[in-house]
């Protein structure tokens, strides 16, 4: 069981063959994984099923199939789990008529945490200046930080953070990333979901990638990167000598396929760097002007879909 990179040796959270469907739509399909201490990144494009998986882990959604255990208990049956587990949801989920301080105090009261922890939690997310203003006047980034403060005031062992950096500016993002890294380093179990690879890379050493409701890849971030290195890139090239350039490109070992539509070439390559050197050279040899050279599907979605196809 522990041979799978999706499973850790000392799990705090265990997800076993979990599926979730809403009517005819399958949101999560047969995912098994576990989470230990430290930060785990949950990576995937929008609509991949990350939020559904996190909601099942927290007990907000009942799995259609399979089971979830957090700190050894089923969160849907045992609310005491929430004394040590918190979710920072993607949606706003704040009370606009409360001030930031009131909101964090409310979270402390609900969890039985000492009120003396409120100021510390607000300081940890750098929200002191706005703490006594109503949340209705907060920016998206400030609301995110208020939610994180409300989570931290309970000193949880397990933090589930759904796209926590959405809406934050670069300074706030850097601050929150440092905060999450510190929590992970102190032995907390932290799950951070994101659709931005660079964000997850900065926080997590271990990554689970979810695509179309399925687990697409798991392991350390370098393994994911290595897997992504094999991806064939599609590049759109525009030149006056389309057919001749296609023929010369096929004579090299840089491209795996070329299609020509008038002056436009669609090229598939696994070595984007070599193609970038080869194409200008051929254009020069043909005495042809290179009007365009752009990757067609560099998006994270295409990367994830490639990972799924490889499984």
């Amino acid at each position: 069981m522990t041979s799978s990179p999706a499973i850790v040796a000392d799990p705090i959270i265990e997800v076993e063959s979990v599926s979730k469907w809403f009517g005819q739509k399958v949101a999560v399909s047969d995912i098994s994984c576990s989470f230990g201490r430290g930060i785990t990144g949950l990576l995937g494009p929008n609509g991949a099923g990350k939020t559904t998986l996190l909601r099942m882990i927290c007990g907000l959604l009942r799995p259609s199939d399979g089971s979830v255990r957090v700190l050894g208990a089923d969160p849907r049956r045992d609310p005491s789990v929430y004394a040590k587990t918190v979710l920072v949801p993607e949606e706003d989920a704040v009370y606009p008529f409360l001030t930031g301080r009131d909101f964090v105090r409310y979270a402390a009261d609900l969890a039985g945490a000492p009120r003396s922890a409120v100021d510390g939690a607000i300081t940890s997310v750098d929200l002191q200046a706005a703490a006594d203003r109503p949340i209705s006047g907060y920016s998206k980034g400030m609301r995110q930080r208020a939610k994180v403060a409300a989570a931290l005031v309970t000193t949880p062992d397990v933090l589930v953070l759904d796209e926590p950096l959405n809406g934050t500016d670069p300074l706030q993002r850097a601050h929150l990333i440092d905060l999450f890294r510190g929590l992970g380093a102190s032995g907390k179990t932290v799950i951070v979901s994101s659709h931005v690879l660079a964000e997850v890379e900065r926080m997590a050493d271990r990554v689970l990638a979810v695509v179309d409701g399925r687990l697409a890849a798991a392991g350390d971030i370098t393994a994911i990167r290595r897997a992504m290195a094999d991806i064939p890139y599609r590049v759109r090239i525009e030149t006056g000598e389309g057919r001749r350039m296609a023929a010369m490109l096929m004579e090299t070992d840089v491209v795996s396929s070329v299609t020509v539509t008038g002056a436009v070439l669609h090229v598939e390559t696994s070595d984007l760097g070599a193609l970038g050197v080869t194409v200008p050279r051929i254009a020069r040899d043909l005495d042809s002007r290179l009007a365009g050279f752009e990757p067609e599907d560099e998006s994270l979605e295409s990367v994830f879909r490639y990972l799924v196809r490889r499984r």
Binding site: G59, L61, Y82, A93, Y95, L98, Y106, L110, A111
Partner: protein
């Protein structure tokens, strides 16, 4: 207990904030206005009879259910709509405590408005006739029926996003029409529960109110027992729903 009190406190602010409370307050002035305008030059006895006519009916059949509907259905419905229900549910608190706290808060908020409406109407009666005796019975009767309505509408607000529309149909079709047309159904009418408590404390009102509303069995403790059962059933049912059903939609 600290968590329950915190939920009550925040829920009261949620219920009593915003423009809708201003609208409900204006609706609450209607019984007093009608009482004041319709009791000019009446004797004390005639003024009391007048109080038990239109102002009383407006208080119990319109102000009370509408305030309870808006506040009761919003108690859980607003949390669900605003995404804060997950904030509440992901706490180490039993579901029944969350529902109980929401019920108490919405009952207190609705009662504050409807009692205010009833008190102003009784003051209008008192100024005209010098008789303020219905004051306490109105407060108790209103508090009892408000609990029954808020409990039912709390559940409704969790079950559907169209709770106000469905609640209005219930109030104006079932409560204000069908239960009058079919006397046998009077016992399952929520506003009558409070009125039975009122008539127990103001016996001279029984004949006049009974003529209009059908059979009324006066009894304060019986009315209290009924709303306790309704509240307990609501808390049990809603807590069970929160445990069994998904707390958020897709």
């Amino acid at each position: 207990m600290r968590a329950v009190l915190a939920i009550v406190r925040v829920s009261l602010r949620q219920a009593l904030g915003g423009k809708r409370i201003l609208a409900l307050g204006l609706v609450g002035l209607i019984p007093a206005l009608v009482m004041w305008l319709s009791s000019r030059n009446l004797t004390a006895r005639a003024a009391m009879n007048q109080f038990h006519d239109a102002p009383f009916a407006i208080l119990f059949l319109m102000v009370l259910p509408i305030c309870s509907l808006v506040i009761g259905s919003g108690a859980m419905g607003d949390e669900r709509r605003d995404g804060t229900l997950s904030f509440l549910l992901l706490r180490p608190i039993p579901r029944s405590s969350i529902v109980g706290a929401k019920l108490v808060a919405s009952w207190l908020a609705a009662t504050a408005i409807v009692v205010g409406s009833g008190v102003v109407a009784v003051v209008a009666l008192g100024v005209r006739s010098g008789d303020y005796s219905p004051l306490l019975p109105v407060i108790i009767g209103v508090a009892i029926s408000t609990m029954a309505y808020t409990a039912v509408f709390l559940l409704l607000g969790h079950l559907t996003s169209r709770a106000v529309l469905i609640g209005l149909v219930y109030v104006f079709i079932w409560e204000s029409s069908i239960t009058f047309a079919a006397p046998g159904l009077a016992n399952v009418s929520l506003f009558r529960i409070g009125i039975t408590a009122y008539t127990a404390m103001v016996p001279e009102s029984l004949r006049q109110l009974g003529d209009v509303m059908g059979s009324l069995d006066p009894g304060t403790w019986g009315a209290v027992a009924k709303v306790v059962v309704i509240a307990a059933l609501t808390v049990t049912a809603l807590a069970s729903l929160l445990r069994r059903r998904d707390a958020v939609s897709e």
